[in-house]
Amino acid sequence: MATISVGLRHKRRKERLRNLAFLSPWLIGVSVFFLYPLISTIYFSFMKYDGFTPPVWTGLKNWRYVFTDYPFFWPALRNTLWLVIIMVSLRVVFGLGIGMLITKVKTGAGFFRTAFYLPYLAPPVAATMAFAFLLNPGTGPVNNILGSIGLPQPGWFNDPAWSKPALTLLALWGIGDLMVIFMASLLDVPQEQYEAASLDGASWWQRFRFVTLPNISPIVLFAVVTGVIQTMQYYTQPLVAGKVASGIIGGSGQQFEPGYPEKSTLTLPQLVYHLGFQRFDTGGASVIALVLFVLAMVFTGLLMRRGSGFLATDD
């Protein structure tokens, strides 16, 4: 009996080791690239740490500074939320709309697919600079055209009221990624369901609401969740747009103004860089990184929860 028990234990240990060996790539990856940075970030958020001298415990000082004294935090948070709600929603609607139009096109579909996808491949810095040129309120062709037909000429990236809509236009221009995903899912909707709906006298809207949407809802949820996460990390475009529009690229004695104009293009990732890498305030930067982490988790959790009823089921 004792021999069997020892043998069984030995076998189970071997099994556990084998399972661990199979799991080890994931375990190592999660530990090194997720757990360690996360725990470090939490640790540093309670420390004064400039990267040169050893960290010193400061309790909640960094948290108090970021939430009550750091003048850029709340504008950046408001901007990030604006972009998450408005820009992500518009990108999903626009991507789906373009996808639906192109799937209906009988001739030249390849050309339109390419034309709408290509902007997505443009490097973000180059694309943003091009938009800053096109939307220049003084010399840009867009305002010239608007002016010539008697329409108002917005300040775009130079106007705090128009800078985020201008960034949204830039994001809609690069809609190619979502368009391709939506097209794939739209082409996957069974045609017989549309035929049955048509025979039942369903209108265009009813066919979309009761046939198309239930079939593509997992893709819509995917687009929203990934869009929210990407927008939480939105950095390059607002930074470049702000720099180009402000005209202050940086020089001797010049102070760069974050979030030009009037902090309207500030986003939370810019603050992580500003505090952590420009002011050597790793503690403050860690607090903002944790805020971003919590926000991403909350948004994703809410969307997944709400989306579970939205997802199509097999039955």
Partner: protein, 442 residues
């Protein structure tokens, strides 16, 4: 379940141990032998071909004097890259670093990222007072700790379009701000909802038209002796902001000027608005002379000190000073060899003069300023005089770099646009913000 707990606790402990081990970089003793064969790495920020050629020539003349020390030069480096490299350390990190941002000296000195140069200066017998002008000594140290030295100097003055002056019947550049305002208005030619020519761009986003550059004409005191922000208490800031916002109104208003500003080309390129004639006057550094020449500007350029407030007319000739700084990385294992390069570049009269000639900057040593080998024309001489004017000043170093300037400028944007009208309350609020930011940095 207990195993899961154990695993989590173990992970946390490892992570904390790992993090606790970071950032403890300590200064290596300067024990290297600078007379032996060695190679040091020098990072700088210059990128234009003419500037890169000048710095290469300067380094070559150093290597000729110190044949045992080879210098690996890396250009086009900005402060963000410097900070990360010095933070990371290691064999690829630079030994000698120069930066255009004097504002960061406070951060560099307090964080010990740059080595204390006092032992090196003492060893070499360099007398700072006999070597560098006082303002340059000030902006290269922080609270008594000298971690950098000045490497050339920038002086700001008034550039004006002589052809535009002649066409408007103006004979002399303005000396006081009331004269300046009148000339700026006279030179301004409205066209539609813009301008055919603007006398001067006063808006704080107008390139070098910054709050700190203007404020230097009032010789402000940014901090109290206790290190507290002094914006509301020193009338200089209120006077500067009042003058600037009045000029904004007189030249057409904030919105109109901002729209016109959006038509300007790149400050550092050929389409700079002064080059193109879009503005007839501008505040700028001495480098603009060389840039305007390279851009092929057709009109005759005039230079003069920037005008002073009427009540300080006797201090005409002063201006804002800034410059490039140079230091030794605290993590460098070759600090003695690095010091030889720093000493040569900052104190060797011939080296400083040649570099100044090559790069069109103001020399940073007293001897170089008087050197007969300095290639100066009448225009460049104006900047040399501004640099040596006893009332010329700069912005002080602070523990968090230029954050306080950003706060002042931020209020300036709100005040010039009319979004904030209460000057005293705005300056007091800016003071409070600056003090909070400094407290966070300490």
């Amino acid at each position: 379940m207990r195993r899961v707990h154990k695993a989590v606790i173990a992970s946390a402990a490892i992570a904390l141990l790992g993090t606790a081990c970071t950032g403890t970089s300590s200064a290596p003793p300067a024990s290297d032998d600078a007379t032996k064969e060695t190679t040091i790495t020098f990072w700088h920020g210059w990128s234009a071909p003419s500037e890169a050629a000048a710095i290469t020539a300067n380094v070559k003349s150093f290597e000729a004097k110190f044949p045992n020390i080879k210098v690996k030069v890396v250009g086009n480096i900005n402060d963000d890259k410097i900070k990360q490299a010095l933070r990371a350390g290691g064999p690829s990190a630079p030994d000698v670093v120069s930066s255009f941002t004097t504002d960061n000296v406070g951060t560099f000195c307090t964080s010990n990222v740059f080595a204390d140069l006092k032992p090196f200066l003492d060893k070499s017998g360099v007398d700072l007072d006999k070597t560098f002008p006082k303002p340059l000594q000030d902006y290269t140290q922080f609270q008594g700790k000298r971690c950098t030295l000045p490497l050339l100097n920038d002086a700001y003055g008034l550039y004006y379009n002589k052809d535009a002056f002649k066409a408007a019947g103006i004979a002399e550049p303005p000396k006081t701000l009331s004269e300046f305002d009148a000339i700026a208005k006279k030179l301004t030619k409205p066209k539609g909802d813009g301008y055919a020519q603007l006398g001067f761009m006063p808006n704080f986003h107008g390139y070098e038209s910054t709050a700190t550059h203007f404020a230097a004409q009032w010789n402000p005191t940014y901090f109290t002796p206790e290190g507290k922000s002094n914006l509301a208490a020193d009338p200089a800031f209120g006077k500067m902001l009042t003058w600037q916002s009045n000029l904004v109104k007189e030249l057409g208003g904030f919105a109109k000027l901002e729209k016109y500003r959006a038509t300007f080309g790149d400050e550092w390129g050929a389409k700079n608005p002064f080059h193109t004639g879009q503005v007839a006057m501008s505040i700028d550094g001495e480098w603009r002379l060389g840039m305007a020449k390279e851009a092929g500007v057709k009109f005759d350029i005039g230079v003069a000190p920037f005008p002073v407030p009427d009540e300080q007319a006797d201090s005409y000739g002063k201006g804002y000073l800034s410059g490039t700084i140079i230091g030794i990385a605290n993590t460098s294992q070759k600090q003695n060899a690095a010091w030889e390069l720093v000493k040569y570049m900052t104190t060797d009269t011939e080296g400083v003069v040649n570099f100044s000639n090559g790069i069109h900057n103001v020399p940073s040593t007293l001897d170089a300023l008087k050197s007969p080998n300095l290639k100066i024309d009448e225009k460049f001489k104006v900047f040399l005089e501004i640099a040596q004017h006893p009332k010329s000043s700069t912005t002080p170093a602070s523990p968090n770099g230029g954050a306080y300037q950003l706060t002042l400028q931020d209020f300036g944007y709100a005040f010039e646009s009319g979004k904030q009208t209460d000057l005293a309350a705005g300056l007091a609020k800016a003071d409070a913000q600056i003090d909070k930011d400094i407290a966070q940095a300490k």
